[in-house]
């Protein structure tokens, strides 16, 4: 490495094959208690439905399983290891107490259909979290059912649709800024809407006059991310809301970036009609290598009748219950009540913070992003000079001259001991470097990041090949994604 880093070194790392390659008949990691009822004749009970062979499931022992997954885990980067500045992902600290409370017997083993009288604890959690989220968003009613942000969007657009249908005015289109996340248009399509693109202006914000022009009676809603995916707060949010409302449209807010707002401003106060939250971003529930998430949807009162069933209610005797009798509801978007385990964690996070902690969190998140922005200005091109909130988006314009693109810089960042930022999103920035540090980074880590990024910028000038061929310090070098997609090998198969 030309520019040595203070952040990371190389160290010996265990190899490990696939489980199937360690399997041998007769090895086992299980034992069942003795059966306390009579044995059964499977053939007699099941007839043709009886399975004869269980295929290639592995046979291994307990120690091998511990080692297998422990070794695998050491190949991953993680928030617990260092800064994970994926823009739009809000990779923040996942508090350990959340994991403890989510595993408490009565919560972890609660059955979704157990009688209400022995479900008061879970229902209380649903209710308390709902109340907190409503206060935080400034909205009036909420559903916790959606399993992730994208399903929150879907639930929201279903409610938009129901709203217009109830008015006898089923509209056809959803407006979506060109900076939006892919789930926004994909969701609109899933709900049967046509998607109309909205161009951003030179500041990276919604072009209000263009919006005015595009807005009409066909448009059901605008899906707006605020701050948007450039990390820019839509300063003309009130005008945007007015334009939408004037023509009977609704303002949907993608709340993926709520980490920039909590405790400082409430979407319900600036004209949003409905929005989703990502508990796995703003509210610290762990990403788990790709999920689970949780995407509650909060709405203004007029949309309350359309919330999915069931909703939590307080019954006459003061106990909590679930109300399924919701004739105007859009229905159900998944079985049971949502990703309950994530509610427990999000609520624990809110408790740990309190009002002062939540506000300080937001302030620190914005502080961190601006510190990075300042630190990298000059070294990387900043396509939109508009003030940043919780994230900042650079482009690879300066480096592209040397043939080095955002993905190359990202790979090189790995050698410096960091997980890369988000590459190639938002689409309005060609060659984007989308950086979101979150509030969880100490200044020390930010300084190392800035140092690494500046060092890479120098490398691009002095020795672009070094960057183009990165990473150099990982157990595998750059992987061939093209071949993977061309000849997909999606599962292991026995040799020969």
């Amino acid at each position: 490495m030309k520019h040595p880093t203070r952040k990371a070194t190389r160290h010996v790392s265990q190899n490990e094959g696939l489980l199937f390659e360690k399997s041998s008949p007769g090895k086992m990691a299980w034992k069942l208690p003795p059966l306390d009822v009579p044995e059964v004749d499977t053939k007699r009970l099941l007839g043709d439905s009886q399975r004869t062979a269980l295929g290639q499931l592995p046979e291994v022992s307990e120690i091998e399983i511990i080692r297998h997954f422990t070794r695998l885990s050491t190949w991953n980067y993680a928030i617990d290891l260092g800064m994970y500045p994926l823009g739009s992902c809000t990779m923040k600290y996942n508090p350990r107490v959340n994991e403890v409370v989510a595993r408490l017997e009565g919560l972890a083993n609660g059955h979704p259909y157990q009688p209400e009288k022995i479900s008061q604890g879970a229902l209380r959690i649903l209710k308390t979290l709902s109340e907190c989220l409503l206060e935080i968003t400034g909205m009036d009613a909420i559903t916790l059912q959606p399993a992730a942000g994208a399903q929150g969007e879907l639930t929201g657009l279903l409610m938009v649709r129901a709203h217009h249908q109830t008015k006898g005015d089923p509209r056809k289109k959803i407006l979506i800024p060109d900076s939006a996340h892919g789930t926004n248009p994909a969701t609109a399509a899933t709900v049967g809407y046509a998607v109309e693109n909205l161009k951003s202006n030179a500041q990276g914000m919604v072009d209000v006059s263009a919006l005015s022009a595009q807005m009409n009676q066909e448009v059901a809603a605008l899906m707006l991310t605020n701050p948007n995916t450039l990390g820019v707060f839509e300063q003309e949010i009130h005008k945007i809301a007015d334009i939408m409302h004037a023509k009977g449209g609704l303002l949907y807010m993608d709340g993926a970036n709520m980490n920039a707002l909590v405790g400082k401003v409430r979407p319900g106060d600036f004209g949003v009609d409905l929005m989703h939250l990502n508990l796995h971003k703003t509210f610290s529930t762990p990403h788990g290598g790709g999920g689970p998430g949780s995407g509650p949807v909060a709405v203004k009162q007029f949309l309350e009748p359309f919330l999915p069933w069931p909703v939590v209610i307080t019954k006459a005797d003061g106990t909590l219950g679930l109300d399924y009798n919701r004739p105007r509801s859009v229905g159900r978007v998944r079985a049971f009540y949502g990703n309950f385990g994530m509610f427990v964690r999000a609520l624990a996070y809110i408790f740990a913070n309190g009002p002062d902690g939540l506000r300080q969190t937001t302030e620190d998140a914005v502080l961190n992003a601006n510190y990075i922005r300042k630190g990298l200005e000059g070294a990387y091109d900043l396509p939109y000079p508009t003030p940043s909130m919780h994230e900042v988006v650079f482009s690879d314009k300066l480096q592209a001259k040397k043939g080095v693109r955002t993905m190359d810089i990202a790979k090189r960042l790995i050698d410096y001991g960091f997980h890369p930022y988000t590459t190639a999103f938002p689409l309005i920035v060609p060659g984007a470097l989308m950086i979101e540090p979150s509030e969880s980074e100490p200044r020390e880590e930010l300084d190392l990041f800035i140092e690494a990024m500046r060092s890479i910028a120098e490398e691009v000038e002095e020795d672009p090949e070094m960057v183009l061929s990165a990473p150099h310090t990982t157990r595998v070098s750059r992987l061939d994604e093209v071949t993977a997609a061309r000849n997909p090998v999606l599962r292991w198969k026995p040799q020969g």
């Binding site: 990691a29 009822v37 099941l46 009886q50 399975r51 269980l54 290639q56 592995p58 307990e62 399983i65 997954f69 885990s73 190949w75 993680a78 290891l81 595993r103 009565g106 919560l107 083993n109 609660g110 059955h111 259909y113 157990q114 009688p115 209400e116 022995i118 604890g121 206060e135 399903q151 892919g182 248009p185 994909a186 049967g192 401003v265 409430r266 762990p286 990403h287 290598g289 790709g290 689970p292 679930l322 998944r334 994530m342 740990a352 969190t361 620190d364 961190n368 300042k374 909130m389 969880s440 200044r443 990473p471 595998v476 070098s477 992987l479 061939d480 997609a485 997909p488 999606l490 599962r491």
Partner: protein, 460 residues
Amino acid sequence: MRYLPKSPADRGAMLESIGVGSIDDLFAPIPAEYRLTRDLKVPRQMAEAEIVDWFRERSRENGDNYAATFLGAGAYYHYRPVLIDALVSRGEFFTAYTPYQAEVSQGTLQAIFEFQTMISELTGMEVANASMYDGSTAATEAVMMAARLSQRRSVVVARSVHPEYREVLSTYATHQGMSLLTLPYSESGRLDLKELERAITQETACVLIQSPNFLGTIEDVGAVAELAHRQGALLVVSIAEAVSLGILEPPRQADIVALEVQSLGVPLGFGGPYCGVIATRQQYVRQMPGRLVGQTTDRNGKRGFVLTLATREQHIRREKATSNICTNQALMALMATIFMTIYGKQGLAELAKQNLAKAAYAAEQFGKHAKVLFPGAPRFHEFVVQTGEDPHAINNRLLGHKIVGGLPLKKFYPELGNAALWCCTEMTTRTAIDTAAGFISESERSGKSAPETDVEEVAR
């Protein structure tokens, strides 16, 4: 605040280096009139011990000390080997993001590749994806996928599919202009094949069944497949109880299998997070929703794994994507992977066999006093019992003995009268079964039929 790694001095120095006077300067882009000038009305900052206490109290209110449960119905109480939590609690797994950057995510990627392989084996399909939200959305997305594949818009659904899965399907389908036709179950508790034959047309995109179905009976997948395929329709099989595949022939004749893997090591957790997954034939993979991991090589020819076929997905294809799903249920898929590895080929079969035996014993005991419905078809570990008395009343008495009885079915299948769905797993002791059988016997003997209004709605 203890999660925030900054001292006041750090903050001051950073503001200075940014060149602003105060933190509020950074919030200037937010129009002043909207800015919050008060504290949020959420509970005050709590100590860790207080948080634990608060949730302990909730846990206690949530039946943390129940001796046995006979609830199943799409959420199953199996033993979770301790290895699962020991391993998924490693920060490298649970605090990692989606493995976009393969070189520092090989752990997650290889584990998903193993998951895809095991699910393929378990379901008898050729490929499986990395996960869906849950069984209900997996079934729904599988139906959408079938519609894309067949280019047709009508769906035939068995009424014996989990009622909540059907509700989800209906929510999604409504706005896609798809028509749903729901078909009844026969005497045997299986989808009525005669009705099915009549219902399938050249317009039918697919038939959706569940097996074992919500009433506990195992569908005749082969016969349904034949009827569907004869008309060019696809067969989608939903499976809510993955452990059943340890002893039940997988639906190899299906075109798409939508599986809920909760019972493979994912906690009941009051209904979520669970983990759906879609498996199908290789040829259909480009219409499959969700993430996929594929094997490839690095620049030195070394094996490695990457997310692949992303052109199906929303972040590339936007409104033309196969689904809007992004965040999925990766950690639960990892739990299932570990569970399947622990039990393996032999253990999963033995586990399923114990479930079968427990339910067979229970059905026999209950059957001595009350009517066990649908005796004509095989079942795995759930069965419907019809009593003279409202099952809520029986359950209420059982609750007093710290036993949670079966799920009363009146809400979902009013035509079955005083019926409840009972489930036994390897966790159900003979003692619990005998106790429950005793209560049923007592209820039947005393000819009870309490008016429903007296009875608390013990199941929702």
